[in-house]
Amino acid sequence: MATYHLQVVSLDGVEYEGDVEKIMLRTVDGDVEILARHINYCTGIGMGTAHITLADGTETKAACIGGMLSVMDGEVRVLPTTWEWSDEIDVERAKAAKAKAEEALKDAKLTKESRVRAEAKLYRALVRIGSADKK
């Protein structure tokens, strides 16, 4: 299958750079898969698991939250706010964060702002747990 050059750069540095077959990730508008020779494209990244199929066919995945995806003249760049490879995710921590966020959401008197924040935390924790290798 045709491959293309992919760059994944997060705030923690270059996460991946090299040739891949395809990448699938969740954008603000739902799941999107980019194959080679894609039209110039730009969208915001939502929260979800990103699946990358490398040039040799091996598959990897990562928790990918926020940022943007752009395809310019065949060059694909993923610029997430957070990117954690599935084998690097601290599941225990994510589970603890999930429990904490759920606890916070039970409080009926929560202000709108902190509710949004707790929901975002819960969602991030769920994405991490969902993307991790070992459950």
Binding site: V9, L11, G13, V14, N40, Y41, C42, T43, D73
Partner: protein, 285 residues
Amino acid sequence: MAANMKAVKLRIKSVQSTMQITKAMQLVAASKLRKAKEKANKSKPYLGTLLSTLRDIANSNRDFQSPYTRQGKSDKWLYVVIAGDRGLAGGYNSNLFKFMESETKGRDIEVLPIGKKSVEYFKHRNVPIFTEDFAEVAKVNISDCFSVAKILCDAYKEGRFGHIFLCYTDFISMMSQVPKASPILPLSDLKGEDGEAVRSGSLILYEPDSETVFNTVVPEYLAGVLYSSINISVASELAARRTAMEAATDNAEEMIETLSLYYNRARQASITQEITEIVAGAEEP
């Protein structure tokens, strides 16, 4: 002579204790610098890729639906100025402010200072300050960057500012740090900043539409730019402090050397004088 000697001795002591402080500051800055540099280096590729991606988009964008890509109507310029919390960092803060002065000449500006020194400076100059909530650069974390980004976006959308610039100190090497101002909003300001060939005619597909994309991407982009610029600035500050303190320690050493030479000479002279006096006294009768 004896009084003079005492003064010199005191002076040596005082220089010595100053040297101890500068030496300690140098060591602290050096060890912190290592970590800060690592952090700055980590976020540098993100900043570079983000900027070049957005520049590409700005260059080929013909769709000016989003308020972020449109040239603002206001004549006001907002500068986000990242300086240090403390002094004693050589020319780190003053270089940045001098640079700001020449950069903003003749412009109607407002500033969002980050770093205590930055707040102090602009207050002193009576420059209108946008918000002081982020005075301490050491305490600014990633979520603060997101809140700053949100404030900036809202202010820009309201049309309060025509341009938003970011002013920080770029870390070139351990020995050289250069103040820099880069445009962050509107995105059309990013166009051909480095004199790159403008790619024309390429159309971009925005999903679901350009407005939504820009509305989600721009705050993220601002936060990312801010965060990495802060990291780079902190590394610059520490490097500047280390160099300044190294120079101060060297100067103190030199001073101690001269002073002790002087002190020893004075001591020798007083001994010689005493002997002469005793000998003269013994010869008298």
